[in-house]
């Protein structure tokens, strides 16, 4: 639904791409309240933004603003089509083009159900606390025939709504044990991730950056906050100088790293990687102020 809106989006429209941080930390309602314009949120959990950016640059005439959220561990991960951070967003792009009318009507019919009923299965993440029959059975482990799963249980910590938006569940802020269970998962992913492919990803991205600039598009890079052990791991494995700064130098577009702003550098992520709903609203508000002050956005709130 949101991707379809990009087809008819104007110069004044803003599209957000990125991984879960751009998805959690930029709140669409807050954005609309402060700018008067609907935000097209296309960031996606566990995903590299490269396939989606490639799709918009190459398959649409969009020449407005694209804000790309950079989560270093995913942005610089890979360009290998079968790798998880690539395959997941690419599947969404493919679905946009290949989805049947039946699938589209199923989605439209599911909207009122999604808004009025509690869903027992969340989504592609296969959360450990899903209540659908398949998930309940998947989570039963008897005996020691095979080693237990290496990944700690991954519980759902975000509420998804329509138009596309995700906000952190309050439980993640108030229940430290729950937040710690999510942190364990980030640490597991961090330790198990293959080495980043900085050259491959940067080169792929830069080709699309040049194309987008030629079309007159306005690209903005943001680096949303992380904290605690996740931040520490990123500093060690994906140091700012080698990754973010290098990308910004090459792209030559407006860019905003949370560490460079007093408003952001002390924000704490309850599970070390995403902001609570309150802080996400604050981040969205302050980011808009910064972008406006910097004339990075073409839109202004109508009187």
């Amino acid at each position: 639904m949101t991707r379809a809106k990009v087809e008819s989006a104007t110069k004044d429209d803003v599209v957000i791409l990125g991984s879960s941080r751009a998805y959690f930390d930029i709140q669409v309602d807050q954005w609309k309240k402060l700018t008067g314009k609907e935000l097209l949120q296309l960031a996606s959990t566990g995903s590299s933004p490269l396939p989606t950016f490639h799709d918009i640059v190459n398959n649409t005439d969009f020449d407005g603003t694209i804000v790309v959220g950079v989560t270093p561990g995913l942005f610089f991960s890979t360009t290998f089509p079968k790798a998880f951070p690539w395959e997941r967003p690419q599947a969404k792009v493919d679905h946009y083009f290949d989805g049947t009318y039946a699938q589209r009507s199923n989605f439209l019919l599911s909207v009122p159900l999604q808004q009025n009923l509690v869903l027992m299965s969340a989504d592609e993440e296969e959360w450990a606390d899903d209540l659908d029959l398949k998930s309940l059975l998947r989570n039963v482990h008897w005996g020691k025939r095979i080693p237990p799963p290496a990944q700690p249980p991954f519980y759902n910590f975000g509420d998804v709504s329509i138009p596309r938006n995700i906000s952190m569940m309050p439980k993640t802020v108030t229940d430290t044990a729950f937040a710690n269970s999510i942190i364990k998962v980030w640490h597991f992913f961090g330790k198990g991730s293959p080495a980043p492919d900085k050259d491959g990803t940067t080169s792929f991205f830069m080709k699309d950056v040049e194309k987008f600039k030629k079309k007159g598009g306005n690209l903005i890079l943001i680096r949303p906050p992380s904290s605690g052990g996740v931040r520490m791991g990123e500093k060690m494995g994906l140091p700012r100088e080698r990754f973010w700064d290098s990308l910004v130098n090459l792209a030559q577009v407006k860019s905003y790293h949370f560490e460079d702003y007093d408003q952001f550098k002390n924000l704490t992520c309850p599970e070390e990687s995403h902001l609570s709903i309150e802080n996400a609203n604050y981040y969205t508000e302050e980011l808009i102020k910064i972008l406006k002050k910097d004339n990075a956005l073409t839109i202004q709130k109508p009187n």
């Binding site: 049947t100 009318y101 039946a102 699938q103 009507s105 199923n106 019919l109 599911s110 159900l113 869903l119 027992m120 299965s121 209540l131 659908d132 029959l133 398949k134 059975l137 998947r138 039963v140 482990h141 008897w142 005996g143 025939r145 095979i146």
Partner: protein
């Protein structure tokens, strides 16, 4: 459109409301059903409805000419035209890439350096089903075994009737077209039974196939490792159950939906996993296809009229082509070949080692048949010979040190489901669901219905496509 989708629920409600409203006469109700069937098909890929139209037009015209033409040569020409168009569609859309791929292999094998880009042709959903259905009409017309459809509307609806359009049952003209001549209306009991069958079909698909079995089968057949024998067997029996529940589920839905409209479709499955031998299996599994292959392939190839050797050849050719009907890959041919071999061996056994089947040895025989069928499913499900052969080696412990990938709970879950399925087939093999329901208290049936509905809801299927749509 999938039966297990929200769109279909809305679609069916609208169709039933229009069908039972008083605004249409019977002809207009049939027009409405025809239009609904095109919408049902077009919701997947609208341009491919054109293939249905072409197939309908060609066979309607051929049927019309065959009804009045007396010149045998001309009659044959009309039959050939129909076969060329239908088999041509099937050949191009289903086997185009396969034929090209094998042509390249042959060229390279004889030293000619030839490369071809795959054509990447879309496989129109259900093409194997509706082409076989419409061809049966023309062949029967040619053999003067059926009457010409009275109107084009009746014929078009026969080709396109949405409950069985994409995955059967493959219905013969005399069994379906004639039902369109008089106004049809389900009785209250038929309507309720149809709804019950639709629930059972969805339960088989969403709960049994997709939720309980598909994951294990996908894990085992998707694994690149050499597997432990237990894992290979459990993955295989999981697929065995999955494909039965998936396909029988579709047929049960189709029969139920048609019955809600007052139209009766034939059974397509009769508890096949309790078959006593392979002839019995093919009288119980995908009955509408096996009877099609018998009538339009095996018998024209000579059947059992020209001696034993010719009969075995006819049997094997029929089963090989039956295998190929399921998919454009050599693994499907091997699947068909194994079934052909089983049928030949069974006939040899009957000839040279006959024995009486009693209630004591029957269950053992059914179990042996089921086990042999499971071996064939390995070739059906594996995406390469290498994978299939590795699975067979694991299943028969021809390799040691295979890796364990399934946990204890999964093994217990799958074996329990399959054991219950096998026992249900055994105890139901000489009866039918309808007969059992008549002897069962309505309260018990209501509770069973409620449990199935509850399980369908909590399974929350993600709209998995029926396996047989690809065939």
């Amino acid at each position: 459109m999938l039966f297990n989708s929200l769109s279909f629920i809305l679609f069916l409600i609208i169709v039933l409301a229009l069908y039972y409203s008083k605004i249409f006469n019977w002809t207009n109700k049939k027009r409405m059903l025809l239009l609904s069937s095109y919408i049902f098909y077009g919701m997947w890929n609208p341009p491919l409805v054109i293939l249905l139209w072409i197939s309908t037009m060609i066979d309607w015209t051929a049927g019309k000419r065959l009804a009045i033409e007396e010149n045998q040569k001309k009659r044959k020409m009309w039959l050939i035209l129909s076969m060329l168009v239908n088999l041509g569609f099937l050949g191009f859309f289903k086997y185009g890439d396969f034929l090209l791929e094998n042509f390249v292999i042959i060229m390279n094998a004889i030293g000619i350096d030839f490369q071809a880009k795959p054509m990447d042709i879309i496989l129109p959903m259900g093409i194997s089903f509706y082409t076989f259905q419409t061809m049966s009409y023309t062949i029967d017309m040619y053999k003067r075994k059926t009457e010409r459809a009275r109107t084009f509307l009746d014929f078009a609806l026969y080709v396109t009737f949405f409950p069985q359009l994409v995955a059967g049952p493959i219905v013969r003209a005399k069994d379906l077209i004639t039902q369109f001549y008089e106004e049809k209306k389900a009785t209250t009991n038929q309507f309720i039974w149809g709804l019950f069958l639709l629930t059972i079909g969805l339960f088989q698909k969403v709960v049994m196939a997709d939720t309980l079995l598909a994951g294990t089968s996908d894990d085992v057949f998707g694994s690149t490792k050499l597997l432990h024998g237990v894992d290979a067997w459990v993955g295989t029996i999981a697929f065995s159950g999955q494909i039965f529940f998936d396909f029988a589920g579709y047929s049960t839905c189709a029969i139920g939906i048609a019955l809600m409209l007052g139209i009766i479709l034939p059974d397509n499955f009769k508890y096949p996993y309790a078959s006593l031998g392979f002839s019995d299996l093919w009288r119980r599994w995908h009955i509408s296809l096996s009877s099609w292959l018998r009538d339009y392939l095996y018998i024209p190839l000579g059947g059992n009229r020209h001696g034993i050797t010719r009969m075995y050849v006819a049997l094997m050719v029929t089963m090989l082509l039956g295998g190929l009907w399921h998919g454009a890959a050599w693994t499907f041919m091997v699947w068909g070949g194994l079934h052909g071999t089983y049928l030949i061996l069974e006939r040899l056994q009957r000839r040279y080692l006959p024995f009486e089947i009693t209630k004591w040895n029957g269950m053992l025989l059914a179990f042996i048949t089921f086990s042999c069928v499971n071996i064939t499913w390995v070739f059906f499900r594996a995406n390469s010979f290498e994978k299939a052969w590795n699975m067979v080696k694991s299943m028969f412990y021809m390799q040691t040190g295979g890796e364990k990938i399934l946990d204890t709970f999964t093994i217990i879950k799958v074996t329990t489901v399959i054991a219950i399925m096998f026992l249900c087939h055994w105890f139901m093999r000489n009866t039918s669901m309808k007969e059992v329901s008549l002897k069962t208290s309505p309260y018990v049936l209501g509770v069973v219905w409620a449990i199935m509905t509850f399980l369908i809801i909590i399974a929350q299927g993600s709209g998995e496509q029926f396996i047989y749509f690809q065939f």
